[in-house]
Amino acid sequence: MAIELKISEVKMSAEQSGKWGMVIDQDICTGCQACVAACAMENNISFVGEVDSGYGRSMHWIRIERFWEGEYPEVKMTANQPMLCQQCGHATCEPVCPAFATVHSQAEQLNLQVYNRCVGTRYCANNCPYQVRAFNWRDYKRPEPLSNQLNPDVTVRRVGVMEKCTFCIQRIHKAQDVAKSEGREVVDGEFTTACAQACPANAITFGRVDDPESLVSQLMKQSHGVKHLEELGTLPNVTYFKGG
């Protein structure tokens, strides 16, 4: 009886593990930062500048982590690791916000960040094991001509607000609206996130993980896929390929 209950709970959490997902192939990532730039353009990310960026205040929603092994001069680079919000099914960032500024979307199974509810306690960022949340430490000025290219579909955030990767939810909604107006379902590959779109090596694949036929689902089934810090029980929705 008790065991049965446990199994049903496990099933439930497996079901909760998402609707949208991403696969990142670290073996073919060149570390070119195109995804970082594309994400910043798509999502109106502030231009932080050298000084603050150098002090750990860069505001990228996706970052390329570079590591090396060994001591200089015998240094060996390891695979680049693009890191972004893992859109956890069991997110540690969500329950700790006192103002309900970061909540779970029932419809899209994503972690939402509600900018205008955020009061800036920064507890969510502290509690994110992936450290992928970006805080608006200041009102950063957008240098010309970047100030002329804001994406009208995305809110511009101001000082004191937390933000993070949304899996380009504005693109998800746009695709859903188009499909709905044409009376059909969203087709796999019809749209993708800015980072996946910009990746010249095609290292990022985005799509429905609850559709077994989609490319991302097919890729996820490969045996060398890993999820980061899965042992914490966060149910991340991004799968990484490394050394395949």
Partner: protein
């Protein structure tokens, strides 16, 4: 009861012992306990003075406040999640989280209880009260004052008893601004 005019006498005693004796004697000459009041600079218990038990509503008010506080906590913990136009899900935690509700109920119960205890002192003692009152400042120097309400006829008798029992002064009490 129907005396047209009663007089308040205020006797100041240097210590607890003579004051307690005086109260006993006053009772023996027929002054009712309800017509006496003791004013002191430290908390002197009723037992020390041989006085009837003082009634206080503070504990009851505190209990009432605790219940109100618990009710407020209940509202916060169990009702407000349903007030939203749509259910708000955080992580996979249940809609109404178990252990955190205990925290909320505890804090608001205590807050209700302590606020109403404080309020209870105000209600029971008629605080704040800036009207003129019968008082002698020597009380805060450690003297014990007895306030006796008696009729004109009894005035002399009561004064004699109080003097005999060691009162430093006995005089008609006048309400004054403190």
């Amino acid at each position: 009861m129907t005396e047209p005019k009663a007089v308040d006498l205020l006797a100041v005693f240097p210590d607890l012992e003579p004051a307690a004796n005086a109260i006993e004697h006053l009772r023996s000459i027929g002054v009712h306990d309800e017509c006496m009041n003791v004013i002191s600079g430290i908390p002197v218990t009723e037992a020390m003075l041989g006085r009837p038990h003082q009634w206080t509503n503070v504990p009851r008010i505190a209990m009432g406040g605790a219940m109100l506080g618990f009710g407020a906590g209940f509202f916060l913990a169990y009702i407000t999640p349903y007030v939203y136009p749509y259910p708000i899900q955080v992580s996979t935690q249940s809609f109404i989280p178990g252990p955190p509700t205990v925290v909320v109920l505890f804090e608001l119960t205590m807050l209700g209880m302590l606020l109403s205890t404080f309020l209870g002192v105000f209600l029971d003692s008629f605080f704040p009260n800036y009207r003129p009152m019968k008082y002698v400042p020597e009380v805060s120097d450690g003297k014990i004052a007895i306030l006796v309400e008696c009729s004109h006829i009894e005035e002399q008798k009561v004064t004699d008893v109080l003097k005999k029992m060691g009162a430093e002064s006995v005089k008609p009490a006048e309400a004054q601004h403190l």
